[in-house]
Symmetry: C2
Subunit: 553 residues, 2 copies
């Protein structure tokens, strides 16, 4: 039986986030697999209330765990590595990453009590790791976090280049510049497939270098009086360093606020990514320094409620408090969906008299390749096929169109669509059931389990709880109703619970023995009455929980 | 006692939306009032799940309803007129508006069964209406809906100009151009206060004219094959007309899809705003027309789930179905907070192979004055004070800064802050309790009533219902638990309800009579056990509803 070369996204090809890609090689039903990235995406009140984290559903992989030869992490962003602590036990294969990424992955393993030796540090290309039929190298590529890598994946059927997240930046401030010659060299023998980041495909301008924000930020910060705070992604070590240096040069003491900020800078120093970060002071010692000599670097550029930026906008955080005349800088862009949360923070600062600077193009650049950069990448690699990844459906589709207009074959393969790229033309070879897994408290639940759906229904419709005691097929006493999340009084101006109890009690008095003796029927009838009465009284059809207690004399 | 001239925002000065402003004149505690606008804002799953509409809390006004001489509506956008049907009975004062606005307000009165004669149509400035100490005129001003007006409010203490929503557009396609000379004339005798729209204060470019989108839209639509659909705010009659004419010129039959689209165009024709709208065909008749000859104009440019655009993205709508090769045009911008809903629609169309065009600056212009236009307005009116309105706190603050840099006094007065503008300097004169009222089903509830809070808590934490029967201070049988919105099994791998029932039953068996005889104590103890067990089992602290039924033998 002939071998196939399979590309199968389980996450990341249908959203920006939650990356999880599978490559397979071998005869049908006997392929060996490697997994690229195990990321998370974040829940929202709209759609996933109460959920803590969202992962790709890896059931398909788990059923084949004995055939997984390795897990490769391209870089340390949460949407690529965030699920490793939660999902690793279900896959139980060695994890490969470069030093900085491996360092942060080990912290996650430590939190979960997994064996840290399962995480192997790999040096940069041309070093490679061989896992079953795959030989994999980490080719440095510029992005907004250190040691991001494209993966060079060699198989008996040819070479794949998996771009990871990337931008074309020849001066990324921290870490390795985009190395065109290296990618040309890698591609010289022919690339079967370029599996390629699609995040910024709709931006038609050439991408800008991280180094372009240094001057504007330095000028801005030098011009400010009062306390200055700035927020950006903690993992953007280059930006954090630029901000810290600008503050330091302006005579300010630098304070890192927020767990991620301290963890990332520590990781970057411990793994040798940076050696010359300005001296920082602790929040406690900052209290003794005049406010005009302070520069806070804070987590929470996306408006996260518990992060340092949001806490400062609500008042004191670790003894520090911003006030009239101070300035808060957002050196970041707003990820769609976070506009309202960030707006709330900007308004809170406005009420305090704190100046805010946000949405300015000169003090932020994206970490992803724009449309012209994607075309450049196609041209450098000249693959047999471009497979767009890391995007919503519209990003994948647009990227495929661009690849085709550049003269390359392309295919849109959303999550769950397996593509055989072994031949000369990519072929859809299977449809795999995929979806999302929610971390809900301490339990992993399925997105389709109905648990979160029930919570959303209670939030939309409110709840009525009705209890009745039935003794020998006769109601014993009255029905009791309680309401939650519903108006207390309705159109009749009597308490809603009273109206509900009266209607249910009247029904119970008239109900036939056949109904009273049948839990299902009794429950259905009571639910119908309760929904009808609530609709009449307050215009809502609530969720209903009926509890029937049966006694026998 | 000397008379005061009061400005008091109850809504709109703290958000973009939900406009409601009060002007008062007279001696303290005996002022007469007029109300400007009674608008709504829209709920979201994040913050107000299950809520239908949001209004300003008008309790303060309601307590003084015998002193309200009139309600003036500047224009027919929902955030200015949307609450009139719901709140009018609580104020019970005559409503004044221009013909188009009055027409739409009467439809709302009709739906609510109010007396339509209470809505009086007023002609444009220099016609005026006298209400108590106020004489009010509707001065036409350009915006994104016909017959928008600034209000010229004359009082014994001087003249106020209330801008309403506006832009500076000398060629608005439909309706009256911005008339600089008229506003200079109005301002000649001196303006005490310019109360001024702040929506676009952060945009530093001069505003663009509605007429600028005609050419690009015509070119775009002429270039397309297949079925074409376009969405914009239905109330933007100029845009809808531009789109319809572009479609018609390209040989397409125009179909209006969505209730608001039909109602707005009908209102515009009936009130004489437009006379030459292209002929439309009904959705039923459209089925017989080749798809490449159709142009759909659809509601739902903000991603509203039930609107025509969203329905088309999910499949058929009134017999019409978009397909590969068709194009959906968003001639609109995304209001912050709607990014995810719109993204979902774009992705659904992408999956269907339908091209989408969105986020293009050349086919949409805003209806609000940008920063340079606001400065121009200040200069035309030369008021004693600029009072920013219609904005979040940060918009009001920025607008005040700009006014001051233009050489005018300014004051930030958020909702509930009353300002006496009678003297030479504005003075904060009172703080009024304000807030939001939710229309929840058919009932108006207070934002702080705890009803929606309880719904959010159920959505975040899930719910456990526990019932126990107590007979003569002894538990009769076992406790029953039901869970909603919680994982079915937890760490111990037994059903969560079983673990809960076991723990509660053990507690009940050991409980002292003192506890069993005291409902409050019993409930507290049971709740604590249930929360603790659920936390241990699934890592969540649920909401708990306890029902204790007491029997006596």
């Amino acid at each position: 039986m002939s071998a196939r070369l399979l590309y199968l996204p389980l996450g990341g090809a249908g959203e920006i986030g939650m990356n999880c890609y599978v490559y397979g090689y071998g005869p049908l039903n006997d392929e060996r697999y490697i997994v690229v990235d195990l990321g998370v995406t974040f829940p929202s009140m709209d759609g996933t209330p109460g959920v803590d984290l969202i992962f790709a559903d890896i059931s398909w992989l788990e059923e084949r765990k004995d055939r997984i030869d390795g897990i490769f992490i391209t870089h340390a962003h949460e949407d690529h590595v965030g699920a490793i602590g939660h999902l690793w036990p279900r896959l139980d294969a060695p994890v490969y990453a470069r030093a900085f990424t491996a360092h942060l992955a080990r912290l996650k393993f430590e939190e979960h009590g997994h064996d840290e030796l399962q995480i192997k540090t790999v040096s940069r290309w041309p070093e490679t790791v061989t896992c079953g039929p795959f030989t994999v190298g980490f080719a440095p590529i510029s992005h907004s976090i250190p040691e991001s890598s494209a993966l060079v994946i060699d198989t008996p059927a040819g070479r794949i280049l998996h771009s990871g997240d990337f931008k074309v930046d020849e001066n990324p401030v921290v870490g390795e510049p985009f190395d065109r010659e290296m990618f040309e060299e890698i591609s010289k023998g022919g690339i079967k497939a370029l599996v390629c980041d699609s995040t910024n495909v709709f931006n038609t301008n050439p991408g800008r270098s991280e180094s372009e924000v240094i001057e504007p930020l330095a000028e801005l910060i030098a011009s400010l009086d009062g306390m200055v705070a700035a927020t950006t992604f903690a993992s953007n070590i280059a930006r954090v360093k630029t901000l810290a240096e600008a503050g330091s040069k302006a005579g300010r003491s630098v304070v890192l606020l927020g767990r991620a900020m301290r963890r990332m800078i520590t990781a970057a120093i411990e793994t040798g990514i940076i050696s010359d970060f300005p001296k920082t002071v602790s929040p406690e010692n900052a209290a003794d320094i005049p406010r005009e000599n302070l520069m806070l670097l804070t987590t929470g550029s996306q408006g996260e409620y518990r992060a340092a930026t949001a806490q400062l906008s609500r008042g004191k955080y670790l003894g520090l408090k911003m006030a009239e005349g101070d300035t808060m800088i957002f050196s970041s862009k707003t990820i769609p969906g976070n506009e309202v949360a960030i707006g709330r923070i900007l308004n809170s600062f406005s009420e305090m008299g704190v100046e805010t600077i946000s949405g300015r193009d000169d003090i932020h650049v994206s970490g992803h390749a724009n449309q012209p950069d994607l075309s450049l990448m196609h041209e450098i690699v000249k693959p047999q096929v471009v497979i767009p990844m890391h995007g919503e459906h519209r990003h994948l589709r647009e990227h495929a169109k661009i690849a085709e207009s550049n003269g390359y074959q392309s295919i849109v393969a959303p999550n769950g669509v397996g593509v055989d790229i072994g031949g000369n033309t990519p072929k859809i070879s299977e449809y795999v059931e995929t979806g999302r897994t929610y971390l809900d408290g301490s339990i992993q639940i399925g997105a389709m389990d109905g648990i979160v759906r029930d919570r959303i229904r209670m939030a939309m419709n409110g709840l009525v709880v009705a209890t009745v005691i039935i003794e020998d097929d006769e109601p014993l006493g009255d029905c009791w109703c309680e309401v939650r999340g519903l108006p207390e009084t309705g159109l009749s101006r009597a308490p809603l619970v009273d109206v509900l109890e009266e209607d249910v009690n009247q029904f119970l008095m008239r109900a036939k023995k056949k109904t009273l003796s049948d839990d299902d029927k009794l429950e259905d009838d009571m639910r119908r009455i309760i929904r009808k009465t609530t609709q009449e009284e307050v215009g809502k059809k609530p969720e209903v929980q009926i509890v029937i207690s049966r006694l026998s004399s």
